[in-house]
């Protein structure tokens, strides 16, 4: 009558990795707060978040990176969808995408180290946008891993200040998440 029953498995595989979520939202006051509050209340940790207006002035685009297994992240996307001001949510992690991040790095410099910093920057397709006697500012655009590598190299000169925007992504080809938004 009672064969050995295996325990019911809990939702989620436990295989955690970084996911990229794109959300198209109404461009209204308070929407960022709604998204941030939801993620906090539901115990999702946002690693990075980039927000800007889209091609249409009435919508904004958010790019969130969240670490979790597939069920955890799917739950985050579903909860986001429940917000009235969220028009479209897509997990683009496994899609063919361009993922870029922007960084400004203020590096400690001397007359002697300056040329070296400039060449490190150039090797990484980064630009020096401010050249001072004691510091230079390097501007970098690229995949997060590329920026990580550049930051690592610049660290030996001494980084005084670092700012990164978090990833923004766009799918390759002609597809458009914005065009998929039902209006």
């Amino acid at each position: 009558m009672t064969p050995t029953t295996t325990a019911r498995s809990l939702p989620g595989s436990g295989d955690e990795r970084r996911h990229l979520i794109v959300a198209i939202v109404n461009n209204k006051p308070g929407v960022l707060n709604r998204v941030a509050s939801l993620m906090r209340a539901r115990n999702f940790n946002i690693e990075s978040l980039a927000v800007s207006v889209t091609e249409r002035s009435d919508t904004s685009r958010m790019t969130l990176t969240i670490v979790g297994d597939e069920v955890h992240v799917e739950q985050a996307a579903k909860q986001l969808y429940k917000l009235i001001d969220v028009l479209k949510v897509q997990d683009v992690t496994d899609e063919s995408i361009v993922e870029h991040e922007f960084a400004l790095i203020k590096v400690r410099a001397t007359k002697r180290s300056r040329p070296e910093i400039v060449s490190v920057a150039e090797m990484h397709r980064a630009k020096v946008v401010d050249l001072g006697d004691e510091a230079v500012i390097v501007e970098a655009v690229g995949e997060p891993a590329e920026i990580d590598a550049l930051v690592e190299l610049l660290r030996e000169f001494g980084i005084k200040e670092l700012v990164r925007t978090g990833s923004v992504v766009m799918s390759r080809g002609s597809g458009s998440i914005e065009e998929q938004v039902k209006r």
Partner: protein, 632 residues
Amino acid sequence: MTQAGHVPGAGSEAASASERARRDMLRDTRVTTRGGSRRRIGADALCEAILRQGSDTIWGYPGGVILPLYDVLADHPDLRHILVRHEQAAAHAADGYARASGKVGVCLGTSGPGATNLVTGIGTAMLDSVPLVAITGNVPNALIGKDAFQEIDRTGITLPMTKHNYLVRTADEIPYVVAEAFHLARSGRPGPVHVDITKDALMGETSAAHPSAAEIEAGLPGYRPKIDGHPRQIKLLAEAIAGAKRPVILAGHGVLIAGAERELLELARAAQIPITWTLLGIGVVDETDPLAYGYMGMHGWKHVNRAIQSADLLIGIGMRFDDRVTGNVRTYAPKAKIAHIDIDPAEIGKNVVADLPIVGDAKNVLDALLPLVTKVDPAARAEYFAELATWRAESEGSSWHGSGGFRDGVLSADFVVERIAAGSAFDANLTADVGQNQMWVARYGGFRRANSHLSSGGLGTMGFALPGAMGAAVAVPNKVSWAIAGDGGFQMTLQELATIVQERIPVKIALMDNKKLGMIRQWQEIVYAGNYHSEQLAGPDYLKLCDAYGLPSWRVSKPEEVDAAVAAALAADGPALIWFEIAERQNVYPMMPAGKGLSDLIDKWGDDGEDVTEGASGPRVDPTDPQSGGPK
């Protein structure tokens, strides 16, 4: 000294606006000329908008910035305003009104404390998916963010516990926002919506027209609740049902919200499936129906939990497999394939893995499913139903009530609940409080009608019964409305006795007084090894209390007095209270300690002595176990 005096940034546009606003706060701002013609202001538009949505009652409490509304209320005589004694009760009453009638409940408070007092009621409605529109007044626009008198970030507070919320700054926005708020509150998975309106918006003149339902829907591109289930999934469910030998239906609040009781019963009859229900699903089926099997979960009937644990197909409809339903998920329904129907996609796969997920409205999904269901001959299930009947007889017979504990002269709570239900011809609305009384109502209420059981299931809000029953009484005047509260919950909102007397709201109150926080005492006895603290609860002489409020009341301490008191309370014109002095140490059994599974029920009937335990893991629970939650 110049004219600018001490005004910060004097001369700027913003500075003069806040100066004007401060002045206006204190000035006589009356706009009406009763009986004569006058301007239509935002407050008028608000009243019109509420009435257009089919709600006829506001539960509210006035205060400074909301006074422009009270200035015009008398000009909208179809809208009944009921003055409560505390805003929390306004929200619960609006909630009870909504649960009992299906209409959207409306509650109202002023800025600051008016709004924060509403919060518990808004949260209660959120967790139980109750359609509610909460309206608050806000300080004038120019004073927002200035820490003005009674100013606090209301929309920030309600944001995580509403389906949506609004800050309305102009009178012209009011018709549209209020219509949209009602639409959001009642459609899809219902919930509370908060509309915060500045004083200038309430007072501003407006000619803004009310939008049509179509305009509202078109204006919400981000909100398209999925109503119809996926045809392929529905077909798979029909196949799963055809192949099942021991199917069980687990019906929740979503069935009642969708109004799918008839479709549910048709499914159960066609495929011969017993119906079990969650706390908020009580009333999905007449409990005397042969296919109605019972209430499950932490304090559910043992036979019902047993049926779930032995099922090969568990069909959850309009429910969310919360922790009071499943206990330990790993050992939950171990042999069953789980089919999960819910309108909220986020509920699917949240707490349990659904083998067969269907997103959609319960009624639409069942309508689509029924034609595909293979009819099952009751004879083919004879063995299954015979076993279920045996289990049922065992479990009902072993309850204290079933064993006739009341015949020994002890006033047991289950007996009282049963006599109240029977004395009201099983046709009353019963509003429970939270704690042991809530479980006794759920187990012994004998419900026969949809939406006749009101209970704060999700948030578990003590103090819900009296204001909730008040709302039900006003919403459904042709049904008796009982508030069944423990002495703990009753003392949290008993100020509403004044409201039911003043407004002549015929709530019948059953006060289940064990002079304890009973569920706390039960947990301390079972989970905390008898280390009692703060479970003793003194109360007033409730007869004197009722006298003071002008309410007829009776005191009952023996089983044989119950029926007469119930009859007398029902015969009383208007509100009444019965003070039941119940057994002080009766526990709610069975009990599934949190973190344990449905097969690990503690089962003991009686008022004293040792616990008898069943199941492998015994009754003692590690209070430090994070899974253990706490008392309900």
